[in-house]
Symmetry: C2
């Protein structure tokens, strides 16, 4: 007989939305999260506000987590990791490790929602001096400062007067193998630029970019207010090097609009690091026999008209484990995966 | 007692996916489409190939339509329009007009998937001479030529030697009130540029753009191949005027990278027109009492973490009727709307 429970792996926005969907449709979700709490990267990385609506990230994720925690149709396993799986739709036998305990659970379908990792700017983009200069940070570090309401230079603890964001660090970069665009960094950067300007009205903020990918409503919701209301300076040009000079950082590069070399002093530089597949995502792909694309993200196989099916029937993938994704992408795909995983179980039950 | 049927309005990719999802979960979908066939804009506008996977649009939509047509849980009403609605979740009474017949149907929830309209470049962007010059066409017109495999100048029937695409026509334009970015035009243009180069290897293709919004995998799947394999010329700069000179069109504007005025002769100019809310979408919003945003699209009310709920409980909106959306956005949101509409019905049934 087909097992009607559905395993959801990952307790971030995607996994929470999928679990809630499954539960609200009267099926049981077993939610496995490797960390000790729900909320995913917005919580573990300490995000300040969501993009684009600037809602407090902690509040938003706490609300999603509570809806799942309070739903009797969701069983939550924290500090737990999937380590093996065998079987087929309607009857997957999955080994889950929680601390020293191992447990086999039986489920009819699986949704992988294991998210992404932030690109490490020290690895192959040393020209930016992330591990060399205290005042070179990432947009992930910046979220923590913004969340604390203390946007100061790490080197001195003083408020910066000039801040530069550098886009596409670890993205659109063939040399390091990340040819894709990470999709969300332009939006997150512009959101942070607004937050910096609100916290520190005297601080000048610059964004060095190749193309500003403020698609859809991000254009009118973030990009135009950032430029016009908050006076953020957008400069088309890429930084090629960051060096330290006295108390300042010098951003070197080319301003491609002005067509001239630039050397601009800054107090802080913020690297807009992109998305990469997490180690957990790669491991899960191997455990379930799911194809990865050349970047290591899980490959969905339905083209433009199916965002969650994989090459393994009954195993779905949703959100940033399949590639760069914004929050809307994640929750929409989560709903789609909830729907399709139940459809699979029903199909197996009928034909069994 | 709560009615468990769900009304889906619109038979394009979003409505088809939502209907299939509802049916596969054992509920009944009533699919209302105003045209005489299913498939939505990809069919009615005669798209050649989908973006980004270049799958034949006719084949893809026929497959989606067949799955819905063959599902006994979907009732399809063609040549039909919703003209009135009253009621509440679990009990909406909706008036549908089919030709001269009017019928009241009872449903528990509603999914609006009424899509978008293409911006009319004759309306307020006369500088491009769309209605003046035969060889100025839109990306919608270009799809039809590409579908026919006959990419020729409308004025002469001859193969063009120089073709220019102009981005952001009707988008990112405060003067005409469309401040948003239409999201998909950069991708569709680059896809068409590849198709033109494949059909006519001797033809030079130029794309004039502000920012190339090739987010996520569109970067590596379309943008880089277009530039490197297919030798499409991307020029950062906007055309300000198109005039006719002898047998040619002259594109006037500024090349912002080279920082100089440009006057470039072309055989054909293709305007990348954006998305606008359709008249049908605006009417449906009024019929169901759903809030529109300032552009006339249906407003979803859940911020970044809910892409389909509206201000009216039990009435959902998915896909391009809520704003600029690519196909992935549409089918993911459709799945999410299917899930949430059933969840609503179950909630009403339990509390009733």
């Amino acid at each position: 007989m087909a097992n009607e429970n559905i395993l959801v792996i990952g307790g971030g926005p995607t996994g929470l939305e999928a679990s809630r969907g499954i539960a609200e449709l009267g099926y049981k979700a077993i939610l496995v999260e490797k960390r000790d709490k729900l909320g995913g990267t917005p919580i573990s990385a300490g995000y300040a506000a969501l993009t684009p609506d600037m809602r407090n990230a902690g509040d938003a994720m706490a609300e999603m987590a509570a809806e799942v925690e309070n739903n009797p149709n969701v069983e939550i396993m924290l500090n737990s990791e999937v380590i093996a799986s065998e079987g087929e739709p309607g009857n997957f036998r999955v080994k889950v490790k929680s601390g020293n305990d191992e447990k086999e659970i039986n489920v009819g379908a699986v949704i992988v929602a294991s998210g992404f990792s932030h690109f490490d700017p020290g690895r192959e983009t040393q020209k930016y001096g992330y591990y060399e200069h205290d005042d070179v940070i990432t947009i992930v570090d910046a979220e923590k400062l913004l969340k604390a309401g203390m946007f100061v230079r790490p080197s001195t603890g003083e408020k910066p007067k000039r801040v530069a964001f550098i886009q596409c660090v670890g993205s659109r970069d063939r040399q390091i193998g990340n040819e894709y665009c990470s999709k969300v960094c332009c939006g997150i950067t512009s959101k942070q630029a607004i937050e910096v300007r609100e916290l520190l009205p005297g601080c000048k903020v610059f964004i060095f970019y190749i193309d500003m990918r403020m698609y859809g409503y991000w254009e009118n919701e973030i990009y135009w207010p950032a430029q016009e209301k908050h006076k953020v300076n957008y400069i088309k040009g890429m930084a090629t090097e960051i060096i330290k000079k006295g108390d300042s950082l010098i951003v070197k590069g080319e301003d491609t609009t002005m067509r001239r070399p630039m050397e601009i002093p800054m107090d802080m530089v913020i690297l807009a690091v992109g998305m990469e597949p997490s180690e957990g995502t790669k491991q899960l792909a191997d455990i379930f026999g799911v194809t990865k694309n050349k970047f290591g993200f899980i490959e969905t196989t339905g083209g433009a008209l199916n965002t969650v099916s994989t090459n393994v029937e009954g195993v779905f993938a949703a959100g940033a484990c399949t590639g760069p994704a914004d929050l809307e992408d994640c929750v929409s795909a989560a709903g789609s995966a909830a729907m399709k995983s139940i459809a699979t179980i029903r199909r197996v039950a009928i034909t069994a």
